[in-house]
């Protein structure tokens, strides 16, 4: 730490660097204020319990109603379907890469997963609507479904999230010390038993963090649901029904030009605040879980 004596100009540089780092903090504060100020305006006109518990979402009707429950049910459906796809497949891929694959094979397979993660969500949305919903569900399987469904959006969203779940849980599995595996093998276990009973439990908090981050991505994903899930805000009763999610509402309401400060404008921010609160909670859980698995060994 006994560096050469700092020159006067370097004090300025240090301040500049600190200011750059502070941009991250300013952004967070900006987000919180940008969401809360219009949301307060919204809750002056709409009681908070009517918002959180009401089951009719019709902000643009003459007899407007602001119950967010229909949007939440659609988000729950797409998120649950996405997790049903991405958690088993992502964990399977992670176990294969960390416990079975040779370094050479890993080097080929990981870039493929990275490409899967890099496909723009609007392209996934096009795929969900044009191929999964319209070609597979309606033409090939002749399912009883309309132009949109939460199932098509959720399935494709699940594929999109596989790389997230796979790469974070693979990190956690690779961090399990080799001695545990060798001990397990020495006691006569085969690789499957070692994977399931030694590596998996040891990496559990990292795996949970991966799943939690997957939830956060599914809840916040916009373009896939805006394109393929539907645009009518009704309580979703089954996977083949269409439904508008929270993000889907924000995206579609953004298309109309709403005046700053109007109830319509404030509604966007009330839903945005709810979305931010959900993902923030989920992210904190994820960060805590990752810290725990880092401390484990």
């Amino acid at each position: 730490m006994f560096a050469g004596r700092a020159r006067p100009g370097e004090a300025v540089i240090k301040v500049v660097l600190r200011v750059a780092a502070a941009v991250a903090m300013v952004t967070t504060i900006g987000i919180v204020f940008a969401l809360i100020v219009p949301a307060i305006g919204f809750f002056r006109e709409v009681p908070i319990f009517d918002f959180l518990l009401g089951d009719r979402w019709a902000p643009r009707f003459a007899d407007a109603s602001f119950g967010v429950v229909p949007l939440v049910t659609a988000t729950l459906w797409t998120t649950a379907i996405a997790l049903l796809v991405s958690v088993p497949l992502g964990l399977g891929a992670a176990l294969l890469l960390s416990e079975y694959a040779t370094p050479g094979l890993r080097k080929t397979l990981k870039p493929i997963l990275e490409i899967l993660a890099g496909v723009p969500t609007v392209v996934y949305g096009f795929f969900a609507l044009q191929f999964v919903q319209s070609t597979v569900f309606r033409e090939w399987l002749r399912l009883d479904t309309g132009a949109f469904s939460v199932l098509a959006a959720g399935l494709v969203m699940g594929i999109m999230i596989i790389p997230t779940v796979a790469s974070i849980s693979e990190d956690a599995m690779s961090a399990v010390p080799m001695s545990l595996r060798q001990g397990s093998a020495a006691l006569g276990a085969n690789r499957m038993q070692t994977s399931l009973r030694v590596v998996f439990p040891a990496a559990l908090s990292g795996i949970m963090a991966a799943i939690v981050l997957g939830i956060s991505r599914a809840v916040g994903e916009t373009m896939i649901v805006a394109i393929a899930a539907g645009s009518q805000a009704r309580i979703v009763g089954g996977p083949l029904e269409q439904g508008q999610t929270m993000t889907g509402f924000i995206a579609s309401a953004a298309l109309g030009d709403s005046r700053v400060g109007s109830l319509e404008y404030n509604t966007l921010y009330a839903v945005g605040l709810l979305l931010f609160a959900i993902t923030l909670t989920v992210n904190f859980i994820s960060i805590r879980l990752v810290r725990r698995f880092r401390q484990a060994y």
Binding site: G4, V16, T27, I31, P120, P177, M178, A189, M192, L196
Partner: protein, 303 residues
């Protein structure tokens, strides 16, 4: 810290290969391995299906007119020229805004910050959190910011670039920090021992050594911004743009927004156009990711 793993260096990491010993050849372990392979194959097959589907749908419309024509009410005459130029403008401005700030923030956190100080701990937590905030929230932020400073025409290049910059800033900070951390401390100690100041050490030793890592991270972050549509939707980038963007305050649309627009039209011809534009977007992203991987493999120093 020396772990058992290190002390066994040289020994085979895992002496058993599946199928080589009787206990690996029983039905259950074999089925388990098949299931693991299936889960990866389903992911890869989905990617292939998506690419084949896009190419089949859009292949016939992929040609010069797509790059040179303006959007039109008839799918036969429409092209994505303003969207392509808009994407270039927005991503260019985003890069200029974000990379210096992101690198400076990372340098502060890695080389200068007192990690125990509350200010730096709050920033650390912030960066981690911001990386997982839904992209559409950044659109709401940019919309509120433009309203606050009284900009009436919100669909402008600088507004879109601002939203995307804040979106990818955490990605660039995290990647740069990793690149800086990978520079061994001996390099710093050597430089400091010769009488250099902290800043001279950072500027002349640490940063040049971490340029490949920073470049890789920045390209990947920019490719994410290139494919992003949600925050720009909120700024009204979906409006019909039939002119070339020509400055920071110019109206714009981008490729992902154009794809979204065409996907939502009822006519089949527009869906083909959406697929054709998706080919451009996927091609650009593959190119950028390929470049990032190339830089990583070619220039990254092994210490």
């Amino acid at each position: 810290m020396i772990s058992l793993q290190d002390s066994l260096a040289g020994a085979p990491t895992m002496p058993l290969k599946t199928g080589e010993t009787p206990r690996e050849r029983r039905p259950a372990p074999m089925i388990f391995l098949v299931v693991l392979w299936l889960s990866l194959l389903i992911a890869i097959l989905s990617l292939l299906t998506l690419i084949v589907n896009i190419v089949l749908e859009g292949g016939s419309r992929f040609g010069l007119p797509l790059f040179t024509e303006y959007p039109a009410s008839s799918p036969d005459r429409a092209g994505a020229r303003p969207a392509i130029l808009g994407s270039i403008w927005v991503i260019g401005v985003t890069a200029v805004l974000t990379i210096p700030v992101g690198v400076a923030a990372a340098v502060h956190l890695e080389e200068f910050a007192d990690k125990k100080h509350w200010f730096n701990r709050v920033i650390e937590l912030n960066v981690q959190n911001l990386a997982a905030v839904p992209s559409i929230i950044y659109g709401l932020l940019a919309l509120a910011f433009l309203a606050l400073i009284g900009v009436r025409d919100k669909n402008i290049v600088i507004g879109g670039a601002l939203a995307l910059s804040l979106l990818i800033l955490p990605v660039i900070i995290i990647a740069t920090r990793e690149a800086i951390r990978a520079v061994p401390s001996e390099i710093r100690d050597g430089s400091l021992a010769l009488g250099a100041t902290r800043w001279q050490t950072t500027w002349r030793q640490v940063l040049p050594a971490s340029v490949p890592g920073i470049a890789t991270g920045s390209i990947i972050a920019l490719s994410r911004a290139l494919g992003e549509a949600a925050p720009l939707l909120l700024l009204g980038a979906l409006v019909f743009v039939s002119f070339d963007p020509n400055g920071l305050l110019s109206g714009f649309t981008t490729l992902p927004i154009q794809i979204f627009n065409w996907t939502g039209r009822p006519q089949e011809g527009f869906h083909e156009l959406a697929a054709a534009a998706s080919i451009i977007l996927l091609g650009l992203l593959l190119l950028m990711n390929g470049l990032a991987i190339y830089i990583r493999n070619r220039y990254q120093k092994r210490w």
